[in-house]
């Protein structure tokens, strides 16, 4: 049996469907565990991707990872594989479950197991990859989002609502600050990012316009967040966050290796830069040699025309 734990308190993301698809392809029966008050009809849709059953624990809300770890372990006796997403929840829960069950963890898997059962992960901030072998009987995997395409193969599945109380870790949540952008950067499929080439914070209007025309999230290079032109949560790269969107548009960013470390997992990279020697062009799929202040408004208009004709 493959057990999948999903954090569903903020709705069902595409990566949840990816996780269930991945689990199904491991070959065994798939049982999904989740906590909180997600609507049962929504949870039932996980059946379409191959889940046999969803068990939702209404007695815990999923925000206490220690509590979740205990609950997952309670259900893991017959599991050969235990799957998490390599997201905020998975990064905190999977290592605990690994220690508790003495089962090897493959953190940040980007593909299904190979013939020899090793699993591919990215290492050296995306500059290389490795294949991890698990030596224990049980195997724990945390899957990086955007690694597998969700496949609808069936209809809804039954949802079992349980009330299993578990001792809490003692962590009290005092408040939650919602991010300013509409689309959280780590999950965004389209990202518009800008660097020092924009000259000053007052010039970000053209970036915001392009992002909203595309329905993209915004990001920036480190110096830009360090000087305070943009908020820290937009900083991508080796010391910020790593993202893997389908499309990354880099505007006025030179493409230093530390910046690339955070974005080189993107499927398609577009670079707009005035310097034909900018290193970013070497990592790009499409390049535009030109001044952002002329090119970006033009690109925004082109995107709007395209959307109108869709």
């Amino acid at each position: 049996m493959t057990l999948v734990y999903l954090h569903t308190s903020n709705g069902m993301s595409k990566s949840a469907f990816e996780a269930v698809t991945y689990a199904k392809k491991l070959g065994n029966e798939v049982i999904v565990l989740t906590a909180g008050n997600a609507d049962a009809n929504t949870l039932a849709t996980l059946g379409s991707f191959g889940a046999q059953k969803v068990i939702v624990n209404r007695a815990i809300d999923g925000s206490d990872e220690q509590q979740v770890s205990t609950w997952v372990c309670n259900h893991a006796a017959n599991a050969e594989n235990i799957l998490f997403l390599h997201d905020v929840a998975g990064k905190a829960i999977a290592p605990r479950v690994s220690v508790r069950l003495k089962a090897g963890l493959v953190a940040g898997a980007v593909a299904l197991p190979e013939m020899d059962q090793t699993i591919k992960v990215n290492v050296f901030s995306g500059k290389a990859f490795g294949f991890v072998k698990v030596n224990s009987q049980k195997r724990i995997i945390s899957l990086l989002a955007n690694s597998i395409a969700p496949e609808k193969i069936a209809e809804v599945c039954p949802v079992e609502e349980v009330n299993e109380t578990i001792e809490s870790s003692g962590i009290k949540i005092l408040s939650t600050k919602k991010p300013e952008g509409n689309i959280p950067l780590p999950e965004a499929e389209l990202v518009v990012s800008a660097g020092r080439g924009l000259k000053g914070p007052e010039n970000w209007g053209i970036i915001d316009d392009l992002a909203s025309a595309l329905g993209a999230a915004t990001a920036c290079s480190r110096p830009v967040s360090d000087i305070g032109w943009r908020p820290h949560h937009e900083h991508v790269g080796q010391t910020g966050i790593a993202i893997r969107p389908n499309l990354y548009i880099a505007i006025g960013i030179s493409g230093a290796i530390q910046h690339l470390a955070g974005v080189n997992g993107s499927k398609v990279i577009v670079v707009v830069n005035t310097d034909k020697e900018a290193p970013f062009f070497k990592a790009a799929d499409y390049g535009v040699l030109g001044d952002a202040f002329e090119v970006i408004p033009r690109l925004t208009e082109a995107v709007k025309r395209f959307k109108l004709n869709q």
Binding site: P95, S98, V123, I173, K177, H233, T239
Partner: protein, 246 residues
């Protein structure tokens, strides 16, 4: 606060990433090691700031061979009080976490801080594994940490934004950007680091849960396609028809 900060070495970011022994091991030839930036800039510096404001002691620990003493001296120069090196090659995250937790149990710490990940293996596993081994709560991906008595107030990344949480020590915290600013060691720090205690202890027995079987390097990107800056409709058409991302 009696604080333990976990330190890992990491190749300097400009290092060439290559593998040897039939692609089963990282090629260290010519590689310059630095203190993993998340451990140094965020975990260690915040631990020092807390010590400076409420008192206590900051110990740093690493799991690694002889050569790693150089990295520990660098971290001592930034201001830690003493260093411990567990004398073994770090096999995987479980091995590292088991060694650190075993040591931490013998001493008893109020806080164990790690960086959110290392820039070489990017696993984000060690903090959670230490927390489980010690039976402590974990605050993962924290960007702020304040101490009042034995109560800690932290901000951490959550699925729906940033959560402000409070918890009592002892805890484990994995530290991300926002925690502190980088500190450059001064001459006095570097001199003092030479005489600070650096204890070397043997590793504890530990199961081998995972192994890196092989490594590889990504295929080179195909040549970039340059688009006329006056023809953004063409770019949009390519993104739609060829790249299929919009």
């Amino acid at each position: 606060m009696k604080t333990l900060v976990c330190i890992s070495k990491a190749p300097d970011t400009t290092s060439k990433i290559a593998f040897t022994n039939n692609n089963t091991a990282f090629d260290e030839a010519g590689v310059q090691y630095i203190v993993n930036p998340y451990d140094e800039w965020y975990a260690l510096v915040r631990a020092l700031e807390i010590k400076e404001s409420v008192g206590g002691e900051v110990t740093i620990v690493t799991v690694g061979p002889n050569e790693d003493d150089a990295i520990m001296r660098k971290a001592l120069a930034i201001g830690a009080d003493k260093a411990v090196r567990i004398d073994a090659n770090p096999k995987d995250a479980y091995f590292v976490a088991t060694q650190i937790a075993t040591y931490a149990k013998t001493i008893g710490f109020d806080m164990v801080l790690t960086g959110k990940e290392t820039i070489n293996y990017n696993g984000s596993q060690v903090a959670g594994m230490i927390a489980e081994s010690l039976g402590f709560p974990l605050i993962s991906l924290a960007s702020k940490l304040d101490v009042e008595g034995t109560t800690l107030t932290l901000e951490r990344e959550a699925a729906n934004g940033v959560e402000v949480v409070s918890v009592n020590a002892p805890i484990v915290v994995s530290c991300a950007k926002g925690m502190a600013e980088q500190r450059i060691p001064n001459m006095r720090g570097i001199m003092a680091a030479r005489t600070k205690p650096l204890e070397v202890i043997p590793p504890a027995a530990c199961d081998d849960l995972t192994t890196f079987a092989t490594f590889g390097s990504p295929l080179a990107k195909s040549e970039v396609k340059m688009i006329d800056p006056n023809n953004m409709d063409e770019l949009v058409a390519l993104l739609h028809n060829e790249a299929k991302v919009i």
